[in-house]
Symmetry: C2
Subunit: 482 residues, 2 copies
């Protein structure tokens, strides 16, 4: 302390101005530190900023493409450019009212079946469990029961098949416009699947009624046991319920939230408009331009077209998925007070192709599992074979939905579904791998195979075939600028 | 139990085949569930899959642009297309050897200063703290000391200024090629900053020697106190050390990991080649094509060009940042056994423009803070003013580095730096906001303002000015195809 004061005195004697606070001597490099991108950096580095950058780059590059597109084509969106024929609308509306009738035919068949079952049960009861019965009477009893059982199955088969066959015939031969055609075919397929589920489920409920010990009925159904569920009311609910699986009883919500319904409907309308604009302004000219490259089989050009197409098709696909599975089905479920809203899983995270197919479209997946895959496995078919059969069936459905309305049964959609099988067996080990890399690779393979290659390629194929068969689907002046 | 066996007996009497396991009655919709994209879904939904998709989309869309580019221009990369003049190389190498000399001039000045300080100290000691001394001797002593002190400062000023002025003059008037010019100017600026830091730091170390109670020297320096650090060895280390801040002592690593150095060097070479290809094949024709749109002032087209340019400039920028700040500086630091490798922070996550400027280029930021901002604030300048002064200085440096080698002192780089101030004051509140949204917005503003608009715009400006002044920098046949 004295030393200090001494020095201050000396400083005053030397007459230097009082020392300032700040000095340039501060030690900036005070410790050994690693760069945060080096492996030897201790703390984990976050890259959220780059995620934001990625999103921005996608937005900007697509904005750029929009400007480019506008400068090249101007505005292609016009409401009067779609020349659907009067005949299409007529046939479309006929189908719209005809198709659901098959559901009610199935109902009538079930009514008969129920009566017949109740009768059998009553007679069995009347016979009594342990009383010795007249054998000839028993034999004819049995014969009658069996024939009825098979007749019912046959009737259901005819009814369901007739529904699908008729709709498909009409769409393929009498509805030119692919849009209207797709709607009709989709409607027919949905009702067909519902009819099948209705028939299968009721058959087994009937069986459970006759042989309670053989198969127990889920607790959920106890509020409406078998014969009581064969009512018009119950069927009508199933008809409109957002599911393809028939259950006598569904989990229900206790009230309808109309604001929720309204929001969902707004989403549906908004997204539909966006998709329409996207396809008219971006996809259509792109597809048109691609025709040349396909016919010329110039591979790099085809790849280039595919890549450009993939972005817009991906966009439409995602928007469409959201509009249909999130907005529309949730609105419908809300109105129907349908409790189980799990119409899809987190398919975008799926670490393999199998994960995708089992989670993107739950209603269809559940139908396939309950009425095709499980029954086969339950009857001793090896799971692998059962899977292949399921995908065969699914492939046929896809071809129906794409090939029939475009009047070109190319089998591309079918082949696409079949191609999923090797992909599944390829990505399954990745999904099972320890650590994130396998899952990441699986996820990437899924995105590439499905959204970046599969879809645009299929769209290109069917559009190409359509053009080859009919020429442009829209008025010529739409293309004059491209 | 008895009931059960009774029913089985009855079943056998009815003669129906033994019941199968699987039944179509399984209750798929067993509980009330929400869709995982709905707000009322309980578990948080993960979107990592979409992150992967985003990355894929960026890759694919750029692959597509590459194909497009190749089909349009073919291969533009050629090694002999750069026509630098012999004169450029000569002047460049002269500067390369001349510039560092100023560092050694500074060293000599410091030697003198150290001698003078030691003398003063010795005489002060000889005089003794409390002995009464001859007043006239004291006065002239004091005068001599003060003049010396100011002479030293003046000498340093002249030396440093001469360095920068000479280099700038030569680059602006005698080096045509912008690449070579930039390298020379950058080298000159770095050495200039190092000289300044050397002078400032030693002045205050000297002050601390004379008035120990006035300012304490960091503990780190104790291993090499003031006069001992004025050695050629110490200076040479500072000359090559990856920092702009002079410290007598730096934290050091105990050995050189040569494999580490090798890897970093490979990265530098690889990235340099990638950047060269990117600029020659993608940026160059793009810049060339943009000239028309700029002169025509067609805004949507300029926006379109800017957006297209932003992707490639962003890529070059990121690659360049990694090559220089991660690979090169780490390699250099490893060779110099320089401990503090914090050459940058996680600037990509910065939730505002301030965060970016204070973390992307730590060496310069540290210099600004230690030798410009803090001294001002320490002397009572309000922080805001000090910040503005710092950015003014930084703006001048940027203009020197861009404007001088391109022989167009447009002031765009300077204006760009000045424009950072309003951006900083705009994004500061966002960065301070609670919750992630403010930070996200700040981060987005940073990316847009800097990488997606600022850089490509500046590049376009200077390229445009260059073209206007000299025409193409490369051989004409390079452009014939565009």
């Amino acid at each position: 302390m004295r030393q200090d004061t001494g020095e201050r005195k000396q400083a005053e004697r030397l007459g230097v101005q009082p020392p300032k606070k700040y000095r340039h001597t501060f030690a900036v490099h005070s410790a050994t530190r690693a760069s945060c991108l080096s492996q030897d950096s201790a703390a984990p580095t976050s890259f959220t900023g780059f995620r934001n950058l990625g999103a921005l780059v996608i937005i900007v590059s697509n904005l750029r493409l929009m400007i480019e597109n506008f400068k090249k084509y101007g505005v292609l969106i016009c409401i009067h450019c779609h020349d659907y024929r009067r005949q299409d609308v007529v046939y479309g509306s006929i189908l719209y009212f005809l198709v659901p009738c098959h559901l009610f035919v199935a109902y009538i068949i079930e009514l008969v079946a129920a009566q017949q079952a109740k009768g059998a049960l009553a007679r069995a009861k009347k016979m009594g469990v342990d009383s010795p019965a007249n054998s000839s009477q028993r034999r004819q009893e049995l014969r009658a029961f069996r024939t009825a059982w098979h007749l019912i199955a046959f009737a259901h088969g005819v009814n369901a098949t007739l529904n699908l066959a008729l709709a498909t015939y009409v769409v393929y031969y009498h509805i030119h416009h692919p849009g209207i055609g797709t709607l009709c075919e989709l409607h027919a397929v949905i009702v067909w699947l519902k009819t099948c589920s209705y028939a299968f489920t009721n058959r087994d409920l009937r069986h459970a009624l006759l042989y309670p010990y053989a198969s127990e009925v889920p607790e959920l159904y106890s509020s409406c046991p078998y014969p009581q569920n064969i009512t018009l009311r119950n069927l009508t609910y199933f008809w409109w319920a957002p599911t393809l699986i028939y259950q006598p009883v569904y989990p229900r919500t206790d009230k309808i939230r109309w604001p929720f319904v309204f929001k969902r409907c707004v989403e549906v309308v908004g997204l539909s408009i966006v998709i329409w604009i996207a396809s008219a302004q971006y996809a259509a000219p792109l597809l048109k331009n691609s025709l040349g490259t396909i016919s010329s089989l110039d591979l790099p050009s085809i790849a280039e077209r595919l890549m450009k197409l993939s972005t817009i098709s991906l966009f439409c696909w995602l928007a469409g998925f959201y509009a249909l599975f999130q907005s529309f089905l949730n609105a419908l479920a809300e109105v129907m007070r349908f409790g189980d809203r799990e119409f899809y899983g987190e398919w975008w995270n799926s670490s393999g192709v199998r994960g995708y197919w089992s989670s993107w479209n739950k209603p269809v997946f559940q139908f396939m599992k309950r009425h095709i895959y499980s029954p086969m496995v339950g009857r001793g078919v090896p799971p692998l074979v059962a899977q292949i059969m399921t995908f065969l069936f699914s492939g046929v459905l896809h071809e129906l939905l794409v090939g029939v309305p475009t009047h070109n049964i190319l089998g591309v959609a079918f082949a696409g579904m079949m191609f999923q099988l090797p992909l599944i067996f390829l990505t399954d080990p990745l999904a099972r791998m320890k650590g994130g890399n396998g899952k990441l690779l699986g996820n990437v393979i899924f995105w590439v195979s499905f959204c970046l290659v599969g879809q645009p390629l299929a769209a290109l194929m069917y559009f190409f075939a359509w053009q080859a068969k009919y020429g442009s689907a829209s008025k010529p002046q739409l293309w004059s600028t491209s």
